[in-house]
């Protein structure tokens, strides 16, 4: 039979009554509290005992302290002399137990008790949430900004779409925790003046549930992206390594007697270094195309040109240069496709290898809009994606102008204008497909018609 049991800590650390009742039940079943943690509390097997527990706080204490302060030890000695035995410490929280039938509680004055809890909240929960809440708000605003400015890229990405709901959920939990602290303190102080202690009854289960849903969105977003399951595993492993490094470093520094400030700074820097190293390693591998779970297409071969190595792709393309021109050459054909419930977005390029003496090249993006209501928004954003730029007195002309849609057999068509006049880049709008296509030569009317037939065919 196992001598140790870990249970999910489904209660607020300030919900004294619930914690005391839970520990009393566990002790009666022969499980004595041994260690506290954010997610799990550890119990060890003992003889079943009828014990009374008391949860109390010493706001000045921190999990990063090398040892309890004299003040904390004095307070604990007061409790011990009154018949309470210290079971466990965890940051600012201490848990005592008593074998007496009716022990005098450790905290008996509501005014002092509320003040102690409020000070503990202000030193633990409030700073944490005041740091994490603006970060979550920043990410939400950033994502909404991205959605507004580049809706095609955003709406075609399952990763971005599924990670979006995570931020409002985190903001909800963080905001609720902050609101709860201030709301409870205000009400509890008022009640304490009338001699009544208002117990903390936070809806911790609800917070855990919302956080679990947020984590689910995060996992789904990673799974729904072009990243493989290995990328999810990489993220999870790095998170655990970061946590282990943080906890290990903090524990070691405590043993070495490092001050709270030193411990906090060094542990945070340690975790930050792990994160930076992980990302740096990942990007280095991605740049070198050695990352085993890089998104996108995979090269089939490489070739050397002027001392550099280039990749050769051979992805299937809806429209190939061979459909439009007669040119013998070795090509690289690359397709990058993203798909979500709203859009399918593909970027396609076909270019000759640098060693080939051929001028033909083509590049086009196909956006298939699956939700008709989004079409006008997507079309407008694609048309307006090109804007003239004023730099000093010089205007870099770069915008789409309406063109005749008839040759394309489309509802609307636009042609790009640059400083040298109209370019060979077109934006063509069919019923539920929008294509931006760039010819690297001036296409003939027949070539445009042929390209239109092939590109439009994909929607019929």
């Amino acid at each position: 039979m196992s001598k140790v049991k870990r249970c999910f800590a489904n209660f607020s650390p300030f919900d004294q009554k619930t914690i005391e009742t839970k520990l009393e039940e566990m002790a009666a079943k022969g499980w004595m509290i041994q260690k506290l943690g954010n997610l799990f509390w550890t119990y060890e097997r003992t003889e079943p005992q009828r014990l009374h527990f008391a949860v109390t706080y010493f706001p000045e204490a921190s999990e990063f302290d090398p040892k309890p302060s004299e003040g904390q030890l004095t307070r604990e000695e007061f409790c011990t002399q009154d018949g309470w035995q210290l079971a466990v410490r965890w940051g600012a929280m201490q848990i005592f137990y008593s074998t007496q039938e009716n022990p005098v509680p450790i905290d008996t004055d509501p005014v002092t008790q509320v003040e102690t809890i409020c000070r503990t909240m202000k030193k633990t929960v409030v700073p944490t949430q005041l740091v994490s809440l603006p970060i979550s708000v920043f990410y939400l605003v950033f994502q909404l900004w991205e959605l507004w400015h580049d809706p095609v890229d955003y709406l075609a990405s399952s990763y971005k779409l599924l990670s979006l709901p995570m931020w409002p959920l985190l903001i909800l939990v963080e905001g609720y925790e902050l609101w709860f602290c201030f709301h409870w303190c205000r009400r509890a102080k008022k009640a304490a003046r009338d001699g009544v202690f208002l117990p903390v009854r936070s809806h911790q289960f609800l917070s855990w549930f919302v956080l679990a849903v947020a984590a689910l969105f995060l996992l789904l977003s990673m799974g729904g992206s072009a990243f493989s399951a290995s990328a999810v595993a990489f993220g999870v492993v790095m998170t655990f390594i970061g946590m282990a490094v943080g906890n290990g470093l903090s524990g070691w520094l405590k043993e070495q007697g490092a001050s709270r400030r030193v411990n906090m700074v060094v542990s945070s820097v340690g975790v930050l270094l792990v994160v930076i190293l992980a990302f740096a390693g990942m990007f280095a591998l991605m740049i070198g195309n050695r990352f085993p779970f890089s998104p996108g297409s995979t090269p089939v071969d490489t070739y050397e040109w002027n001392g550099h190595t280039y990749d050769i792709y051979d992805d299937p393309l809806p429209l190939e240069l061979e459909d439009l021109v007669e040119a013998e050459a070795r090509w690289s054909k690359k397709a990058e496709i993203q798909e979500s419930v709203f859009l399918t977005y593909g970027e396609y390029t076909q270019r000759p290898l640098y060693s080939e003496e051929v001028d033909y090249q083509i590049r086009y993006d196909i956006t298939d809009v699956k939700v008709p209501a989004l079409y006008p928004f997507i079309q407008e954003s694609l048309v307006n994606a090109r804007q003239d730029q004023l730099q000093g007195d010089f205007v870099f002309v770069d915008h789409f102008e309406p063109a005749d849609p008839a040759p394309w057999g489309a509802q609307e068509a636009y042609q790009l204008r640059g400083n040298d006049g109209l370019m060979n880049t077109y934006l063509v709008c069919w019923e539920d497909r929008i294509v931006e296509i760039k010819f690297y030569w001036t296409p003939t009317a027949e070539q445009i018609t042929r390209a239109a037939d092939i590109l439009h065919m994909g929607t019929e």
């Binding site: 008391a54 307070r75 007061f78 005098v104 905290d107 008996t108 102690t116 001699g195």
Partner: protein, 107 residues
Amino acid sequence: MPREKFQTLTQQMFYILLCLCEERRGMDILELVRTMTGGRVAIGSGTLYDLLEQFTTEGMIRETKAEGRRRSYMITEKGQGMLKQEYQRLREQTADYERLLGKEAEG
């Protein structure tokens, strides 16, 4: 700590200050209050520590002796003033009660 908190004293604050009219070790106060009030008032050990710290910070009591973690305290002039003010308030409450219901209460 807001000063207005001690404008009136809770029962436990009152008895702690009362006990410290003589120099006493912190822990002795627990037993003394229980004996003095016949168990009617019981001060928790955590509350006692917290209040002794707060009273010291506010200058209502002062530390007189320290043997390791065992410390003795004594009420200050300010603390005596607070205690007397609370006593007056309780007397006025009692007087109000007696003026209205005194005879019934005696009966």
